[in-house]
């Protein structure tokens, strides 16, 4: 048989009424415009917030270089930080922030992921009923309290364990570890729970052990989610000041080792900002620290995102 050409049929003639009906905007169309409008507006608000923060920090942070004519390279590599006397080398804080954030994320991740596996795969009941509420509770403890507990418990402990004054990167790492644990754990739990059930069953039915299933199937397909969790954990670690400041020793010197006093961008910023005058070098220098922090966190973000893209597994929901 051959294909027949399209012929106008009876029904095609009376198209006007239907054409109107099918082209008219209806409630659903309007809802969609509204919804689109609302959600674009909301994301717009967020973008505006981010942009104005970025502008705020950038403009203040760049003043050091544009108004006080500090050399950017010296700022990044200099090790002498005493803005009152005009020396602003931020390297000690950059190294401190870097070390503390990374160390905390590295230590916290296995604990968080382990706990999350426990909560989703080993004992979902206990996980949901007991662990989750308690972990969420930890987010609400103010930083100062963490700082003082750190001072009362962690610092003396480290002093006895490894000697020195007890203040240093290692103590800060430990305190931050506890502080970022809840964020990473809760978000990891969410992404583990989102792994389709049939993935797990397929693996178990093949005689794979629970650990094989978890490590090769579940964790792999939850990787993007876990990485997001780690980003948020690192973000918290980056931004934390009060607690870190009390246990790290907050000295603007190049850390010699894990147990010598050091400081972070955030702790210097927080402890100094109230005592400086707007528009002066010491104040601008602190904002430059904030700018560095921002750039570093952007960098880590991009890094983690690249890793996530690499390791990503496509799976249907």
């Amino acid at each position: 048989m051959e294909q027949t050409n399209f012929q106008l049929k009876k029904q095609d003639v009376q198209s006007n009424e239907w054409s109107a009906r099918l082209h008219h905007a209806t409630r659903a169309t309007r809802e969609d415009w509204l919804g689109r409008g609302i959600s674009y507006l909301c994301i717009g608000v967020i973008i505006l917030v981010v942009a104005s923060m970025l502008w705020f920090i950038t403009s203040k942070g760049l003043a050091t270089f544009t108004q006080n004519h500090v050399n950017v390279w010296q700022f990044l590599t200099g090790t002498n930080w005493s803005p009152d006397t005009g020396h602003i080398g931020a390297a000690p804080m950059i190294v401190g922030s870097f070390a503390v954030t990374f160390a905390a994320a590295i230590v916290a991740t296995p604990f968080a992921v382990g706990t999350a596996i426990f909560m989703t795969e080993i004992s979902p009941n206990k996980g949901r009923k007991l662990l989750q509420p308690v972990i969420e509770l930890l987010v609400g403890i103010p930083s100062v309290v963490y700082g003082f507990i750190g001072l009362a418990v962690v610092v003396p402990f480290m002093r006895h364990l490894v000697g020195g004054s007890g203040f240093g990167i290692i103590s800060a790492t430990f305190v931050l570890f506890v502080m970022v644990l809840p964020t990473i754990t809760s978000m990891t739990v969410d992404s583990l729970r989102a792994v389709p059930r049939h993935y797990k069953e397929a693996s178990l039915a093949l005689g794979a052990t629970r650990w094989q299933t978890v490590s090769r199937v579940i964790l792999r397909s939850a990787t993007p989610g876990i990485l997001t969790a780690i980003i948020f954990g690192m973000a918290r670690a980056f931004g934390e000041a009060l607690a870190v400041q009390m246990v790290i020793g907050n000295a603007a010197v190049m850390p010699k080792n894990l147990i010598s006093a050091a400081s972070t961008l955030t702790s210097q910023l927080t402890s100094g900002i109230g005592d400086t005058i707007d528009g002066t070098l010491p104040n601008n220098a602190l904002w430059s620290l904030a700018l560095i922090l921002l750039l570093m966190s952007l960098f880590f973000n991009a890094l983690v995102r690249v890793i996530a893209k690499r390791g990503q597994l496509k799976h249907e929901r």
């Binding site: 009152d84 001072l151 009390m246 020793g249 927080t270 402890s271 900002i273 005592d275 005058i277 104040n283």
Partner: protein, 277 residues
């Protein structure tokens, strides 16, 4: 809050009710005193809306200079801060605070020579046994750069020398806790933060007491300032007057461990020159 304040004269025959808004921002050390005095002031003048906040001396000075707040609280003379045009601001000294070195109890040190203190903070002396204490490493806890307490201490003790880089904390509370819990620690605190968990140190056998401050035998002290920009408006002026009144100076100030401005037998200016009254 609004930096401006307005006076509406709802006059009765005898007195005129004050009304308006006062915002005082700045020094955390002065904050409790200002807050308490403010609360008392407000309870007498119910139409007045008075807010006292912290934020640090730098913030106080910056904001009062910018005209954003009515009063800038500071631990430090405006002249001492770069970037502040002191001549545009009016200083109101509301209290005096004495500070003293404090050490961890088991250093075994109760008295130091001024020179020794300087050597400790400049890193020349690093062990307590060099000044008659235990054989223990000295752990210096400094205050944040730019803070009023540190400026006062450095003016009185270091006299231009640079302190060695060390741990820096930004509050009396943190210093108090760290010094009392860290072996070998030394720092300095306002008198009111002394506790029995740490050792206040005499200098050249002068003990850190209010009396010694009042006659300048004890050298480490400073004023608490309330700065206004130009002439204060009516409510602000009334509040500043109240701060200087006997009610505040004789009870509140002393309760808080500060020294009344009225009791001082000497005056210090921004350059540190002391003159007898």
């Amino acid at each position: 809050g609004k930096a401006t304040s307005s006076t509406s004269s709802k006059s009765s025959s005898s007195s005129e009710a004050l009304s308006g808004k006062v915002t005082a921002v700045g020094s955390t050390a002065l904050q409790p005193l200002a807050a308490k005095a403010g609360a008392n002031f407000q309870s007498k003048n119910s139409k007045v809306n008075l807010t006292v906040q912290g934020g640090g001396s730098g913030t106080g000075l910056s904001q009062v200079q910018a005209g954003a707040v009515s009063i800038g609280n500071s631990d430090i003379f405006a002249e001492e801060k770069d970037g502040i045009k002191a001549d545009k601001l009016t200083d109101h000294k509301v209290a005096v605070v004495g500070m003293a070195p404090v050490v961890n109890k088991d250093t075994g040190v109760k008295n130091l020579k001024m020179a020794q203190l300087k050597q400790i903070f400049t890193g020349k002396i690093t062990n307590w046994k060099e000044v008659g204490g235990k054989d223990q490493k000295i752990v210096i806890v400094n205050r944040a750069q730019g803070s009023g307490t540190r400026a006062t201490f450095e003016n009185a003790v270091l006299k231009g020398a640079t302190a060695i880089k060390s741990q820096e904390q930004d509050s009396n509370g943190a210093v108090q806790k760290i010094v009392s819990s860290t072996p070998g620690a030394v720092s300095y605190l306002a008198f009111s933060y002394f506790t029995n968990k740490l050792q206040a140190v005499s200098i050249d056998n002068v003990t850190p007491t209010d009396n010694n401050v009042e006659n300048n035998k004890w050298k480490i002290w400073s004023y608490e300032h309330m700065y206004t920009k130009g002439t204060p408006d009516k409510v602000t002026a009334a509040f500043l007057k109240y701060m200087d009144s006997k009610t505040v100076q004789d009870s509140l100030v002393k309760d808080m461990g500060y020294i009344s401005i009225h009791d001082m037998k000497v005056t210090k200016d921004a350059k540190g020159t002391v003159t007898q009254n």
